[in-house]
């Protein structure tokens, strides 16, 4: 791709991102574990119906940052947090906000599959639905389960085995099961923490397809160690280093003309 074309594309992407309303917005966010300052002064808009990738070396605070977006960070006893995280303009850390309701709107999939071992495939996908019903939402469980499994590209593989234990699925299938479990809740935002770290290339491809598809309806924030993956699926990419957000740019720009020498060093593999 000639340089001028790349430049034009990066410009167009930047304009597109700017045009998109912010589904979430992070302002001057700091997160601690005891004395460890894991996320430092991060500010970042998260545009609606776009995929935001978070990259950076191990231990730089990517997971911690992600976990501040649905208030999972505070479940760690030593955790502290300051700053603002807006979801649809409302601060999720406001005193009146119940973290439980935040997590219903902002779904999360962890790095390693966390299927519930005592539940069946169906039971796993439906695990959160009881919660929805308890708040008065009407849900048809079978319908939701099928829809979520289809979206997670798992339906064809498990449709005849809905009642077997989730542990009978392969690791990659379990990870997609966890994605289906999160999707069954119909979240507006989905947080993915290295969702393909334990997957084979084929499953990885399926998950990437899924992310591209999800982009039609929901907002996705995805941590990844795989820069090609970030380049393939994301619209904007944030580069973290030692807890700081070094750079946030349209993906097409960050990987071709990084705005910071540290970003450049990282993506060209000189450290990390």
């Amino acid at each position: 791709m000639p340089a001028s074309e790349a430049l034009a594309r990066a410009r167009a992407d930047a304009a597109d991102l700017a045009a998109q309303p912010a589904r979430m917005e992070v302002r001057e966010l700091n997160a601690h574990f005891g004395v460890v300052h894991a996320v430092k002064d991060v500010s970042m808009p998260i545009p609606e119906k776009r995929v935001t990738a978070v990259i950076g070396p191990s231990g730089c605070g990517k997971s911690t940052f992600l976990r501040t977006l649905n208030r999972m960070h505070e479940t760690v006893p030593t955790a502290r947090i300051s700053g603002t995280v807006l979801l649809d303009g409302q601060d999720i850390y406001a005193p009146a906000v119940d973290p439980v309701s935040v997590r219903r709107h902002v779904g999360m999939v962890f790095q390693r599959p966390t299927a519930f071992p005592t539940k069946s495939v169906r039971g796993n996908v439906a695990a959160g639905l009881g919660v929805l019903r308890s708040v008065g939402e009407r849900v048809d469980v079978d319908e939701r389960v099928e829809e979520a499994l289809r979206r997670a590209a798992l339906w064809d593989e498990v449709k005849d085995r809905l009642d077997v234990s989730a542990l009978e699925l392969s690791g990659g299938q379990q990870q997609r099961l966890c994605i289906a479990r999160a999707l069954a809740m119909n979240p507006g935002v989905l947080l993915l923490d290295e969702p393909t770290a334990s997957l084979d290339p084929l499953s990885t491809e399926k998950v990437e397809d899924l992310v591209r598809q999800l982009r039609e309806d929901i907002t996705v924030v995805m941590v990844t160690h795989n820069m090609e993956q970030a380049a393939r699926v994301s619209d904007q990419t944030g580069f973290f280093l030692h807890g700081e957000l070094v750079e946030l740019s349209p993906t097409s720009q960050l990987f071709t003309r990084p705005g910071d020498t540290r970003t450049e060093a990282y993506i060209t593999g000189r450290f990390g």
Binding site: N70, M72, T75, P77, V100, S101, R103, R104, G107, M108, F110, R112, T114, F116, P117, T118, K119, A127, G128, G130, V131, L132, S134, S165, L167, C178, R181, A182, M185
Partner: protein, 333 residues
């Protein structure tokens, strides 16, 4: 030598690679001692099942006369008469099973509550002291429980709990809570046993709950579960076979417990459906009558009761273990 090992694999170590002959000296140097050691270990490991078989054999042999004389009737007859030389263990068998069952029904929810409180809800500073106090319940000698039972529990049951159950709650209409409230009773035995087995069930449940991986809890929370929903939807299901193991441990204790039960159960050779009526257990029957056994048949009958208790305990344990195994198979990692 040690330095060389610490230096890592020979390829990375500086200087000449470690000669294979050198470590071999180390491995074979203590060969003789090792063999003796492993021999001793194997022997002591074999001692335990051997001891079990020996006890089983001795009891069976000693109880054979009674088992042979009364046959299956030994388990169904309620007569225990050393004058007529008629012995039947039905009331004691019934009492052992019922008192243990009552104890489990009372202790399991309570113990689980304690375990859940300690592992999930108690502030950190409260956990250790409360856990310690609960564990301390297991350290109280059985006879002390018995004394407390006689002077505190039995009067309390007689004047408050029994009238309350029978009259206020109108449970007197059912056969289980009817009849006069003497005090010493199957209920008293069940309550004492419940207190005695509570620390075992709660300690095991607490440990297995605390061992539930963080990732499982987080997975539930991330779905928008409240702490309570996370507990019932993820943590307890994950821990359930371990909790069942704790309950079995408690059951084993309850079946064999002797002293405290003897002191509060009333020691009467009769099967009564009412929990307010006195009863007997196999363990207390043996303890009470052993010194007074007058004849060979009497002694043999007591041994036979011991045999039945042994078999019941084995069966209950095996059955419960099988249950745990089944559930853990369904859910194995």
């Amino acid at each position: 030598m040690v330095d060389e090992i610490l230096a890592g694999p020979p390829g990375e170590a500086e200087g000449p690679p470690v000669e294979p002959a050198q470590p071999r000296v180390g491995i074979h140097g203590g060969g003789f001692g090792d063999r003796i050691y492993s021999g001793v270990i194997t022997l002591s490991a074999l001692c335990v099942p051997a001891l079990l078989l020996l006890i089983f054999w001795v009891i069976t042999k000693a109880g054979w006369l009674a088992l042979h004389t009364f046959g299956f009737g030994f388990l169904t007859s309620s007569q225990w008469d050393s004058v007529k030389q008629q012995y039947g263990a039905a009331p004691a068998l019934y009492g052992t099973l019922v008192s243990s069952f009552v104890a489990l029904v009372l202790a399991t929810p309570l113990a689980l509550g304690v375990a859940i409180f300690l592992s999930e809800f108690a502030p950190a500073w409260l956990r250790r002291p409360v856990a310690f106090l609960v564990d301390l319940l297991a350290a109280i000698p059985s006879v002390v429980y018995g004394l407390w039972g006689i002077f505190v529990l039995v009067p309390f049951l007689r004047s408050w709990v029994m009238p309350f159950l029978r009259d206020t709650l109108h449970l007197g209409a059912t056969p289980f809570f009817s009849g006069p409230a003497y005090g010493p009773s199957m209920l008293a035995a069940g309550v004492i046993l419940a207190i005695m087995i509570l620390p075992y069930i709660s300690a095991v449940s607490r440990e297995v709950l605390m061992a539930v991986p963080r990732s499982q809890r987080e997975a539930a929370l991330a779905l928008g579960a409240t702490r309570w929903e996370m507990l019932w939807g993820a943590a307890i299901p994950f821990a359930r076979s371990g909790i069942a193991g704790g309950v079995i441990l408690g059951l084993g204790r309850a079946l064999g417990e002797t002293m405290a039960v003897t002191m509060v159960i009333g020691n009467r050779q009769e099967i009564a459906t009412s929990l307010f009526a006195p009863g007997y257990t196999m363990a207390s029957l043996i303890a009470n009558q052993f010194t007074e056994a007058t004849s060979d048949l009497n002694l043999s009958a007591l041994m036979a009761v011991g045999f039945v208790l042994f078999v019941v305990t084995l069966l209950v344990n095996a059955g419960a273990r099988w249950l745990v195994w089944r559930t853990s198979l369904e859910t194995s990692i």
